[in-house]
């Protein structure tokens, strides 16, 4: 490539600055990777809106973006640092239930959302330190226990949460946000835009995080705790930070879902939901925010397509998972990206 030569020919100071970059990357126009991700997501959100014929499509689209947001948190934790959490539905549910419960105590929805996100982040910070000393299966089991505890509180404390039957979420409708600027949208469309914007922002932040010094520290931990520590990375602190960040992603997604649905049940915090989030990340490719998007898209939209062969739905979904795991171990997006690379070179 031409770019390579220019870089090596440049002044010594410049070489120093770019030495660690891969071929060509230094020559790209100066749009930051975070902004670029945001723009790509924005285009996809807009593209969806262009082709969607009815509220039903907007509804499925909204769920795809909300799931993408939650799974982006899993990407930070699992893809960047290599930590498995089977309790993230718990944080998701904390965001959702705070948004549902607090308005009845006179706290407006946006503040309730913030409070829920704060609670989830706070809880992740408190339990993160002791839990994150564990690794591998032990960590998965500990987070599973945490998720179970949250689920139990939600389904047993009926006076607060409505118990197993769930509760109504009253409050903000996204439609009113758009009314402020003079746009009249159906509520399904309004939630689609809000969820799409949230997912795009979340993805941009996650991409920027990966490029930042603390993101590099996280990826160093992914390869080796010991090596990272010997390079001066505070491993415990970095892990805890990643755990809190991913909990915040889950809680924001939970709050959005609660508001968009208008009704929540303890199942949002159930074990199966935790597994679903991790599955989406692994299927799409846990190392990339686009993996989060593809995983969320497939597992949210495919069941809708498969209703035609409802009896075979689980077989098809299971088959896709098995084939992906055998043939494309790193997930769909990294696999297709690799193919693309190989063809080019």
């Amino acid at each position: 490539m031409a770019g390579q030569g220019t870089t090596t020919d440049a002044a010594p100071a410049d070489t120093g600055r770019h030495a660690y970059l891969k071929n060509g990357e230094a020559r790209r126009p100066r749009i930051g990777p975070g902004l670029r991700t945001f723009l790509i997501f924005a285009v996809l959100v807009g593209l969806g809106a262009l082709i969607f014929p009815s509220s039903y499509f907007y509804r499925v689209g909204t769920l795809v973006w909300i799931n993408t947001l939650a799974v982006t948190g899993i990407v930070v934790l699992l893809g960047y640092v290599g930590l498995v959490s089977l309790g993230h539905a718990g944080f998701f549910a904390i965001g959702a239930y705070a948004t549902a419960i607090l308005p009845s105590y006179g706290i407006p929805s946006p503040l309730a959302m913030l409070a829920g996100v704060g609670m989830a982040g706070g809880l992740a910070l408190i339990v993160g330190r002791p839990i994150l000393k564990l690794s591998g299966y032990y960590l998965a089991i500990a987070t599973l226990g945490l998720g179970m505890l949250i689920w139990m509180v939600l389904s047993k404390e009926a006076w607060l949460t409505g118990g197993p039957d769930g509760m109504v979420v009253s409050g903000m409708n996204a439609r009113n946000l758009f009314k402020l600027v003079g746009l009249k949208l159906k509520s399904a469309e309004a939630w689609y835009w809000v969820a799409g914007f949230a997912a795009a922002t979340g993805a941009a932040i996650a991409v920027n995080l990966a490029r930042s010094p603390s993101g590099r520290a996280l990826r160093a931990i992914h390869d080796s705790d010991v090596a990272a520590r010997s390079l001066g990375v505070d491993v415990a602190r970095a892990k805890s930070r990643a755990f809190v960040i991913s909990a915040i992603y889950a809680a924001v997604a939970g709050a959005l879902l609660a508001l968009a649905n208008g009704y929540i049940t303890p199942e949002t915090g159930g074990f199966m939901h935790s597994v679903e989030m991790v599955t989406m990340a692994v299927l799409g490719g846990a190392t990339s925010v686009f993996g989060a998007l593809v995983g969320a898209l497939i597992l949210t939209a495919l069941p809708q397509v498969l209703t035609v062969f409802a009896d075979y739905e689980h077989m098809v979904l299971g088959g896709i998972m098995v084939v992906t795991m055998i043939a494309m171990r790193r997930g769909l997006v990294p696999f297709i990206a690799d193919l693309w690379n190989r063809r080019k070179s």
Binding site: R36, S55, G163, D165, Y263, L297, Q304, A310
Partner: protein
């Protein structure tokens, strides 16, 4: 990175497919056919499919064929809401039956007000119809009514001091709360209140506590699944001779099998579906109950359940309303549905009104006593 984006785009395009078909009168349903609540959704879906086939074979509604579109929401409120949107927007149904679970029902309910489509839920909780929502109806009776019925039977035997032993699952917890709230109005006093976990295998301590309570006269066990069978066996092992009541949650032949001989003498409130041959000749429910059982056994080779009965009633109420409305306009169907008067179903006799979207009274429940492994109606 751009490559990854392109890869994402390709995967996205691969998913865009699928278009709905057109027919005469379309009725939608979103049920928990698989998943934890499949025991509700499976018989409900089977019942609806059977009834639609039957109806079309006999000429449909006012000469128009009926198409049923069923989706499996797995009792997930999130999916239920998506499917409800799809039924309304894509499939353009005139009415929706379903929501096997309360969560799924409540997640769907606001949509029907927005789109003005009538909706008949098959879930139990009181919140579905209290407060009344204009477009939301339901066919199952509530656990509050079960408590009232049990207490009425207890007081008719001249007793009043009751001990509760409740399961802590959703059903048991909700019914316990309802029983506590209607106790005073029904003229009984709750003198003991014990509970057990869903997977407990021995409830002797709780029963011993209740039996040792001063002046205790009867025991009621709100619960669902295995728990009540264990309680019943423990009750027999302890040799207690207090009148013992189970809930409508275990009103099935399965319960008698699980509890065995210890079940003899247990009373519970149930729908007439359990005693098709013992209903009086002039009982208005005799005909629908026997029809339903015969048709279901012929179609699927097994006995229908109470839950399938809810779907049976919902479908017939809806067909009846469409016939009376003489139109497939959803709002006119809703109005006709609300005007339903004295419709005899398998669960009970329905009379809807603007204030009552469940339309059942206590007569929908029959108190049955288990005798020699079978059901005997208790004369009242």
């Amino acid at each position: 990175m751009t490559r990854q984006a392109v890869a994402a785009g390709i995967s996205a395009l691969a998913l865009l497919a699928g278009a709905p078909a057109l027919a005469e009168i379309r009725i939608g349903a979103s049920l928990a056919i698989t998943g934890p609540a499949a025991f509700l959704g499976d018989p409900e879906a089977k019942t609806l499919e059977m009834l639609v086939e039957e109806l079309n074979a006999s000429g449909g509604i006012n000469g128009e064929e009926v198409e049923l579109i069923v989706y499996d929401d797995g009792a997930d409120p999130n999916k239920a809401r998506t499917f409800a949107t799809r039924l309304i927007e894509e499939d353009e149904v005139v009415a929706v039956i379903g929501g096997s679970s309360t969560g799924a029902t409540m997640a769907m309910a606001p949509l029907f007000a927005d789109y003005e489509i009538p909706f008949i839920s098959l879930a139990g909780a009181v919140v579905i119809i209290d407060p009344v929502q204009e477009f939301v109806f339901k066919t199952p009776h509530t656990d509050r009514m079960a408590c009232e019925k049990i207490f009425a039977d207890i007081t008719s035997r001249g007793l009043s001091r009751v001990g509760l032993i409740s399961g802590t699952g959703g059903f048991g917890a909700s019914m316990r709360e309802q029983c506590l709230s209607v106790a005073e109005a029904s003229g009984v006093e709750i003198v003991a209140d014990e509970s057990y976990g869903g997977s407990d295998s021995d409830m002797t301590p709780q029963l011993t506590n209740i039996a040792a309570t001063d002046g205790i006269e009867a025991i009621v066990n709100p619960g669902f699944g295995q728990g009540p069978a264990v309680v019943t066996r423990n009750y027999a092992q302890l040799g207690l001779d207090l009148p013992f009541y189970q809930s409508h949650g275990v009103a099935s032949d399965e319960f008698i099998k699980l509890a065995g001989d210890s079940a003899n003498g247990v009373r519970l409130p149930a729908t007439p579906l359990l005693i098709p041959d013992q209903l009086a000749e002039d009982d208005v429910q005799r005909q629908p109950v026997q029809d339903y059982i015969a048709a279901y056994e012929e179609a699927y080779g097994e006995k229908p359940s109470t839950f399938g009965g809810y779907a049976y009633d919902a479908f017939h109420l809806l067909v009846d309303a469409i016939e009376r409305a003489g139109s497939t306009d959803p709002v006119e169907i809703r109005d006709a549905l609300e005007a339903t008067e004295g419709h005899a179903g398998v669960t009970g006799v329905y009379s809807f009104s603007p204030e009552d979207h469940m339309g059942l009274d206590l007569s929908a429940f029959r108190i049955l006593e288990i005798e020699d492994g079978g059901w005997t109606p208790v004369e009242q």
